[in-house]
């Protein structure tokens, strides 16, 4: 598993790094001049030295990012009582997913909430992002200000604010849907994710000229059709990127989730936090490893779908970073 995680990354670094035609093609800068060849020869030696240094630095940083993850994957084969103390090698800890319904349920709740929250945030965020990019006005400042406030509010404040409110909606107003555990967790995770997706979509569309949509409208395509046939495909990479990021945030949400959860819907991070009480067992590492594989698989699927849709991975990448 370690190899599967790190392998592709290291392969990436070993690949030749000469700028390719494809790379030039993806540049989204405002320059319109034709793609020139590489720099003149006299720049070569200095650039190579700088490039090498940059590459080594990047490899080091990727190694840094993966250090604890590799350790955790390795320690998921620990047969001891405590995760942090390696006493023997074995696969025992992976059995927890089957023998401990609590662990399995927590993981399933997290995955379910992650998927639903991501789709939901993508939906609302996409519309908001398109409006921000294509229909700017005075309201834009208010909306951007709101998104900033969302980012600035400490999670614990969201948590204590949201719980009584959801209870009020569910109990006092009788809206039973707000008593559903998954719904509550999705709401808890959605606020920040919507902000992020909105932002990604806006960034994506701001970097693209409106000509296509205008052309479509000029040809008397109804607005819905223009939206479906032109705007949406233009935005698609940002939406998919937003899905992934929302899913990532959702998987790690502890504070808000611990407050809004109801019976039968403890998400994984809340379980891990409360299990520290009696000492974290290697099974939490094993479950993490499995989740890592699942999420990597999901990512691969998204990548393949995108490739089929004719979008280059570089474009996805630039959208994911949102800019």
């Amino acid at each position: 598993m370690t190899a599967a995680l790190v392998g592709p990354g290291e392969g990436a670094f070993a690949a030749p790094d000469a700028p390719s035609a494809a790379q030039l093609g993806t540049a989204t800068g405002s320059a319109t001049g034709s793609a020139t060849d590489s720099a003149p020869p006299e720049h070569r030696p200095r650039r190579t030295l700088l490039d090498r240094t940059l590459k080594i630095w990047a490899i080091l940083i990727f190694a840094f990012l993966f250090t604890p993850i590799v350790v955790i994957v390795a320690y998921s084969f620990n047969t001891g009582r405590l995760l942090a103390a390696f006493t023997g090698f074995g696969f025992d800890s992976f059995g927890a997913l089957f023998t401990k319904p609590v662990v399995r349920d927590a993981v399933l709740v997290s995955l379910k909430v992650g998927v639903v929250a991501a789709i939901f945030a993508a939906l609302l965020g996409t519309f908001a992002g398109i409006a921000l990019a294509r229909r700017p006005g005075k309201w834009t400042y208010w909306f951007m200000g709101l998104l900033l406030l969302v980012a600035m509010t400490p999670e614990i404040v969201d948590a204590v604010a949201l719980l009584p409110w959801l209870v009020f909606l569910g109990q006092d107003l009788g809206l039973g849907i707000f008593n559903n555990g998954i719904v509550r967790l999705v709401i808890g995770n959605s606020v920040f994710s919507i902000a992020v997706v909105t932002y990604l979509v806006r960034a994506r569309l701001l970097g693209m000229p409106e000509n296509l949509e205008e052309a479509s409208a000029d040809l008397y395509a109804p607005p819905m059709r223009t939206f479906r046939k032109v705007t949406l495909p233009l935005t698609m990479p940002a939406i998919l990127a937003g899905l992934l990021l929302s899913f990532t945030f959702s998987l790690d949400d502890t504070i808000v989730a611990s407050f809004v959860q109801v019976s039968g819907a403890t998400p994984w991070p809340v379980y891990v936090l409360s299990a520290v009480h009696t000492g974290l067992r290697p099974e939490v590492a094993a479950v993490s490893s499995i989740m890592l594989v699942i999420t990597l698989g999901a990512l691969a699927v998204v990548g393949i779908v995108l490739k089929r849709a004719g979008d280059s991975s570089a474009e996805i990448a630039s959208t994911m970073a949102g800019g």
């Binding site: 209870v167 019976s263 409360s274 009696t278 000492g279 974290l280």
Partner: protein, 406 residues
């Protein structure tokens, strides 16, 4: 406790989210549905005056008094809200296998979180079994969050050691039965600290000397102020301002600069990893950490002296439990000696059962001196309470943290 009788405490201000004018209507709607009244709706611990019927979903539960279950057919499911990983999986599986109800287990991270949730959720959490720490039980009873236990449905209480029942926070044992208890002490690294440490005074002294910047304390205001009070022969539940001033001066002025970390679960990482030299820790956590440490010999456990804490987590049932019969059956089930022994083995804490020490010894469990204590040691352990000093204690704790980060 009677259901839906006095809906609000007349003297208490009504505190709600809704507009004041809408209150009477909402209140009527609520009591019809048999849920908590609105008083204190949004606030953890605000006065909740009316108590809901004990269960809208139970077939035989929810009796007239709203106080307890009367027995009868067990419901299909049972929901437990507890600390994570706090029961042997085997015991939980056996319960469903032998008695039927499907068990749903959810986790919380602190008592405050548990209470905030129960009060704010007004019964929508759907929990049956709760596992609060003793000191918080009066608050939960006052807020009518707990159901009176029907002891007739829990005959296995006879296996419990009376020493661990009916403690000060629940003197008649109406609401709680011991689930597990522990105490506070410390471990030190004998390769770094060569003198013998025996008391909290030794701990505090050593923390300023050999173990400076290598000391960790529990991340809990009460435990930190507790150390000073225990060391100096003061009741650790004191509300005397002079005592609180003294502890503030000592913690922020003297001890804080020497503290490396505030860590409530060193057994999970710091002890097996050898991160600090002097560590305040709960006994079961210390045991796990030392057993798993590669250099187990270097660690010395010391029970806090001359006085220390006794904390006890308890089985209790939510006043709005949808499945009160199954809840009583579950508590009765886990109290059987076999199941208590399995839980001692799994979580590493004493469950309060009679004669369990001998059985554990017969099974050759490791390091039992960190699980079982002599009656003399037990006499030095005292329960904590939530009292008027709590806010001040938190304030002192924040000041100490600020001082320690400098």
């Amino acid at each position: 406790m009677s259901h839906a009788s006095n809906q609000t405490n007349d003297t208490a201000p009504l505190r709600i989210l809704a507009d004041q004018a809408a209150v009477p209507g909402i209140r009527r709607a609520l009591s019809r549905r048999g849920f908590f009244s609105l008083a204190g709706l949004a606030g953890a611990g605000a006065l909740l005056a009316a108590c809901g019927k004990g269960g809208s979903g139970g077939t035989g539960g929810g009796t007239d008094t709203g106080a307890t279950a009367t027995g009868g057919k067990l419901e299909d499911t049972l929901s437990m809200y507890s600390w994570g990983d706090y029961d042997a999986p085997e015991v939980l599986a056996d319960f469903t296998k032998q008695l039927g109800p499907k068990l749903v287990v959810d986790s919380f991270g602190s008592n405050e979180e548990l209470i905030s949730k129960l009060v704010a959720a007004k019964g929508t959490g759907g929990y049956d079994i709760l596992v609060p720490t003793g000191a918080y039980i009066p608050q939960m009873v006052e807020n009518k969050l707990l159901m009176k236990l029907n002891k007739e449905l829990i005959p296995n209480i006879k296996y419990m050691d009376p020493a661990f029942l009916n403690k000060a926070w629940d003197p008649k044992g109406d609401y709680s039965i011991c689930k597990a208890w522990g105490t506070t002490g410390f471990v030190y690294d004998k390769t770094v600290i060569t003198r013998e440490l025996k008391t909290w005074s030794d701990f505090l002294d050593c923390a300023q000397k050999e173990a400076s910047h290598k000391t960790s304390v529990l991340d809990d205001p009460k435990e930190i102020t507790g150390m000073y009070f225990w060391a100096n022969g003061i009741d650790w539940n004191t509300t005397d301002p002079a005592h609180l001033d003294a502890v503030e001066k000592f913690l922020t002025g003297t001890l804080a600069p020497h503290i490396a970390a505030f860590d409530s679960n060193p057994g999970t990482g710091a002890i097996p990893q050898g991160t600090h030299a002097l560590i305040q820790v709960w006994n079961g956590d210390a045991r796990q950490g030392i057993i798993e440490s590669k250099k187990a010999d270097k660690w010395q456990w010391v029970l806090g002296a001359p006085a220390t804490e006794l904390w006890m987590d308890n089985w209790a049932i939510s006043s709005t439990a949808p499945h009160p019969n199954a809840a009583h059956a579950f508590i009765n089930f886990v109290l059987t000696p076999e199941n208590q022994l399995k839980n001692v083995d799994y979580i590493g804490y004493h469950t309060g059962a009679k004669d369990i020490e001998e059985k554990a010894k017969a099974e050759n469990f490791e390091m039992l001196d960190l699980v079982f204590f002599t009656p003399e040691q037990l006499a030095t352990m005292h329960e904590g309470t939530v009292n008027s000093a709590t806010e001040r204690t938190v304030d002192i704790y924040n000041k100490m943290k600020a001082a320690a980060s400098a």
